[in-house]
Amino acid sequence: MPGFLDNVGRLLNYRMPIGELIGLGLFLGAPYLTIGLIWTLTHTGSLHGIRGLDLVVSFLGSIVAWPVLLIANVCMQ
């Protein structure tokens, strides 16, 4: 399929200024992190019994890693 390969090649060759890359990151990151925050706030069970720095790290980790936590319970020790 040359058409498919052409498209992949065009995608790989796409040039983007750093500013636009940052913007794209914000654009995709904002909804991802919003979902992560909502998911974390509604699944606080795993945070019980954790304190201090551990709690902060677990909370932030849960916001970032929500897709993983959807399917598996990961423990960060």
């Binding site: 500013g19 636009e20 940052i22």
Partner: protein, 312 residues
């Protein structure tokens, strides 16, 4: 929507981004818009017309229509046109699509696509001729009228590009100008009709501006456009004040006078601050998002050509 403009203006003033506190340009009978402070420019390499494609430039669309129609032959040709299917006041969204599609094809299309669109536009233009009752004589195939419209389209891209990306160097402006020729040559304007250099374009523009006139008929038509009288009132209420502001802002002083619309130093400051703000935001927006409207228009026109559907 206008409150957003005021908030941005206040923000820019608080941040002190502008070096000159107040805009100065009023009173001069200028033929081009004057901007005190452009956003800084970060590159001096060659600039193609494709780089000027950006959805924000829609802000200048209505102002450009005003400039085009300020030439009596164009103005009366559009106002009196018997081509119902392309009438701005009857089918505003269709007219928006066809006009934007023409500009997309002129910049992005290949030779066959340009030829296909030229044929389609020619069919409509053949019906646009003055009658015995017309106050001015005109014909849509008149190359002088077409050159004026193409020159307006070039001004559209130059003004919006510089507001969003900073002022071009002289060499960049020259190259940018040469890329703009298909804006006219896609119809009946010939390559030797275009002023050969950017400086000669200025001469053409300023000379032609002195011949412009606008009578009540054209002025009423344009004011109905600026006030969005042809679209749904629910959409009109929030959009019309903003469009009016943007339109008058993108009009050079001479055209404001022709149209008889006021513009204050405060509004000029708000206008410049708005674009200082938008230009910063814009540097973070990926190109494929900024040009999505052109992508859709080109996909649509290619679909229409493949399926043999009406282009306009």
């Amino acid at each position: 929507m206008m409150f957003l403009v005021r908030i941005i203006d206040a923000l820019i003033r608080v941040l002190g981004i502008r070096t000159s506190a107040e805009a100065q340009p009023l009173g001069t009978a200028g033929s081009r818009i004057h901007v005190d402070q452009y956003t800084p420019r970060f590159d001096d390499g060659p600039v193609g017309l494709t780089e000027a494609l950006d959805f924000w430039s829609a802000a200048a669309a209505a102002a450009n229509v005003v400039m085009q129609l300020s030439m009596p032959g164009v103005g009366h040709g559009v106002v009196e046109s018997r081509v119902e299917s392309g009438a701005l006041m009857e089918h505003p969204w269709k007219r928006l699509r066809t006009t934007a599609q023409y500009m997309a094809i002129a910049v992005l299309g290949n030779d066959e696509e340009r030829a296909a669109y030229r044929d389609a536009v020619n069919v409509a233009h053949r019906q646009v001729r003055s009658t015995a009752e017309s106050p001015v004589q005109y014909n849509a195939f008149d190359q002088d009228l077409q050159l004026w419209v193409a020159a307006c389209l070039f001004v559209f891209y130059e003004d919006t590009y510089q507001l969003l990306r900073g002022k071009m160097t002289q060499a960049q402006a020259e190259g940018f100008y040469h890329h703009a020729w298909p804006l006219g040559t896609t119809l009946q304007v010939t390559a030797d009709q275009w002023p050969p250099t950017r400086a000669e374009f200025d001469t053409y523009w300023n000379t032609t501006c002195q011949t412009l006139e606008m009578d009540e008929v054209v002025r009423d038509y344009l004011m109905r456009l600026v006030d969005l009288k042809m679209i749904n009132p629910i959409l009109r209420a929030p959009l019309a004040p903003l469009l009016r502001f943007l339109t008058i802002g993108f009009l050079p002083p001479l055209f404001r006078e022709l149209l008889g619309v006021p513009w204050s130093p405060t509004e000029q400051r708000q206008f410049e601050n708005l674009f200082l703000f938008v230009s910063v935001v814009n540097r973070f927006i990926p190109r494929f998002i900024r040009t999505v409207n052109y992508t859709v228009l080109m996909a649509d026109v290619r679909h229409r050509i493949r399926r043999d559907k009406a282009l306009i």
